[in-house]
């Protein structure tokens, strides 16, 4: 085993995959030898694989994603570094109208491409650099969505994402990318399949489904509630599409209570979708209303005081749990 940061996990996953498969290349802005990605997670890859396979572009999100689609359809396996997920709007057409190529052309093509993008608030980066667009992305057919919360998950899932023969978006939370905390990973190679949730903490009274950074806040809240004698099970879906419904439903069957913690405006959120699935498929097992702990339906403010109010935190989660106990 070894200790590794979230950032290093991403670097290793891409490095190992690029070494294994020469059809993989990265395309994006400022990913080369100076910054290695704006948060440094691609450091060293340019020196190792050169300008040919770590392809820096001008500011061109549309050409980056469109180009990745064309290359993927013709034998390459691109990683489109989209930078902040907030910039996905610039290539919105590629996302909603072009990634669906396989389906539209009668199943005759495949698009083995991975999009990477930073997500999340917590850095006072204001509305245009802080969003988690989970719900928005889940509404796009033909796209798989990964949002890891730990270094272990990030590495194993990114390797699987790159090997996938379908478009996958891999979302990296900025607070986790900048965190120095580490998790243990095996020295040997491993992958984690898309579509498998992880029980981050076992418990018996309330199921909390938390996504990305929120997993850590849910775990912290669970510790506090444990002291009060309330037992929380924390489930990290890790991939939103495909979603491991069974893991969530199995947990709800045991606990009878569900709270979903999700860092995005409540309306149209991933939390809404998860709540709907449980209401539809496991209603009989619920002993209390489903609760969603989300951000308010507003853009994301800059001031740390406002941003803290905007982001769901442990207190919000504890309050919601107390309401259904």
């Amino acid at each position: 085993m070894k200790e590794i940061t979230y950032q290093k996990a991403i670097n290793e996953a891409i490095d190992e995959e690029m070494k294994r498969d020469p059809s993989i290349f990265i395309i994006g802005e400022d990913i080369g030898k100076h910054w290695g990605g704006s948060l440094g997670e691609l450091a060293g890859l340019f020196d190792k694989y050169g300008a040919e396979r770590v392809r820096e572009t001008p500011i061109s999100e549309t050409a980056i994603l469109g180009g990745a689609i064309g290359a993927a359809a013709t034998g390459m396996r691109p990683i489109a570094y989209l930078y902040f997920d907030d910039f996905l709007g610039v290539c919105g057409d590629e996302l909603i109208n072009q990634l669906q190529m396989k389906y539209m052309y009668g199943g005759k093509t495949k698009l083995p491409l991975t999009i990477t993008a930073y997500i999340g608030a917590g850095l006072s980066a204001a509305h245009q650099h802080s969003k988690c667009l989970f719900g928005w992305l889940m509404n796009i057919s033909g796209l798989k969505i990964v949002a890891p919360a730990t270094a272990y998950d990030a590495k194993g899932l990114l390797k699987s994402a790159i090997r996938e023969d379908n478009p996958v978006i891999f979302l990296e939370h900025k607070v986790l990318l900048l965190s120095r905390s580490t998790s243990q990973i095996p020295n040997e190679e491993y992958t984690i399949p898309l579509g498998k949730a992880d029980i981050k903490r076992g418990g018996s009274e309330v199921t909390v489904v938390a996504i990305a950074l929120m997993v850590h806040r849910a775990l912290a809240a669970a510790d506090k509630l444990q002291e009060k004698g309330i037992s929380i099970e924390v489930i990290d879906p890790r991939t939103l599409v495909p979603l491991d419904k069974q893991a969530i439903i199995d947990s709800v069957k045991k606990t009878g209570r569900l709270v979903i913690m999700d860092e995005e405006p409540k309306t149209g959120s991933a939390a809404g979708e998860i709540a709907a699935i449980v209401a539809e498929e496991a209603f009989d097992f619920l002993d209390a209303p489903i609760k969603r702990v989300c951000a308010p339906d507003t853009p994301i403010p800059f001031s740390p005081v406002l941003e803290k109010f905007w982001m769901p935190d442990e207190e919000d989660l504890i309050k919601a749990i107390n309401e259904i106990m």
Partner: protein
């Protein structure tokens, strides 16, 4: 055309105000007093100061992530700006925007946009509105070299060209978009050459010469006001600090950096004004001193201002 003495001194004062503001932000950011992402305009002052000196109060501008200089040149007050950077309630955006979005709509600034090139079509819309409303207001649209490689640049400028919109595009060519040099990102030596593709005038000027910027942008604005359509003005410059605060700048050699500092637009203009007899050494020093004092007050105002109430997060989503 000779520029009145007062206007020359004003331009100088604006440049010094921007520099003093940016140097102070540099310090306060390093001290941990300013949260978020900060992109400094130092080194590029002649562009905002020279271009905006041509504007009427009712004209519009659009700005970028590197927007402090534009706001000051359009009449922004440094105390309310500093308060915004500190995330305070008294800031121009009431703490909602921060450095990357600092703007005052009431003085004609339609946003400091942190999505590169997003201001270009919005500026076109403001120019279209002025045209449709039958006013002779003009819009000055600021953006960087990097922005000219995007879809929005092409769509925005092309549309403005066919409708002869009253707009002037001011390209701040500081040679880099983050770490990416212009020489890598495009195949042409002068960005102004792109104007040919739209059948509009394109001018390249020394962006560190405030009088040159003032003159070229002034002519372009006069054309726009007369209904003769848009102009592309490329101002060649360089930035003093990194792309953002925290940038290690390994992509710039020390020599390149020193050459940039040698082109400093402020001492250059100061020397010229003294030679022209517009300012004495003493007058110029006095302006510097006044700006330092103004910034001390601005920081004090920011420090002493309250944070917004957390629930203000919920305000201003809809009208």
């Amino acid at each position: 055309m000779a520029i009145e003495k007062e206007k020359l001194i004003d331009m100088y004062r604006v440049m010094v105000r921007i520099r003093t503001f940016e140097d102070r932000v540099f310090k306060e950011f390093a001290a941990g007093n300013i949260p978020g992402f900060v992109h400094l305009y130092a080194g590029e002052e002649a562009i905002a100061a020279g271009a905006c000196a041509n504007l009427r109060p009712d004209d519009y501008i659009t700005s970028t992530h590197r927007g402090h200089g534009h706001l000051i040149a359009k009449g922004g007050k440094t105390d309310r700006m500093m308060a915004e950077l500190y995330g305070k309630k008294t800031g121009y955006n009431r703490g909602k925007g921060g450095s990357m979005h600092i703007a005052e709509v009431d003085i004609g600034i339609l946003g400091a946009d942190a999505i590169v090139a997003a201001g270009i079509p919005i500026a076109g819309g403001a120019a279209l509105s002025a045209q449709m409303r039958g006013t002779d207001q003009v819009t000055l649209c600021f953006f960087g070299d990097g922005a000219t490689n995007t879809t929005r640049f092409h769509e925005g400028v092309n549309l403005a060209s066919i409708w002869k919109l009253p707009i002037v595009y001011v390209i701040e060519n500081n040679v880099y978009a983050e770490t990416t040099p212009v020489s890598y990102a495009m195949n042409i030596p002068n960005i102004a050459d792109r104007a040919v593709a739209y059948g509009i005038p394109g001018k390249t000027v020394d962006g560190n010469d405030v009088l040159a910027v003032h003159e070229v942008v002034g002519e372009a604005l006069a054309r726009a006001r007369k209904g003769e359509g848009p102009t592309l003005v490329e101002c060649k410059t360089c930035r003093y600090y990194g792309h953002y605060e925290g940038d290690t700048q390994t992509y710039r050699t020390k020599q390149e950096f020193e050459e940039c500092r040698k082109r400093d637009p402020i001492p250059r203009f100061r020397k010229k004004l003294i030679k022209m007899g517009v300012l004495t050494e003493k007058d110029a020093d006095k302006i510097n001193q006044e700006m330092l004092e103004e910034l001390d007050k601005a920081v004090k105002f920011a420090e002493e201002s309250p944070f917004p109430e957390p629930r203000e997060t919920l305000e201003d989503v809809y009208t």
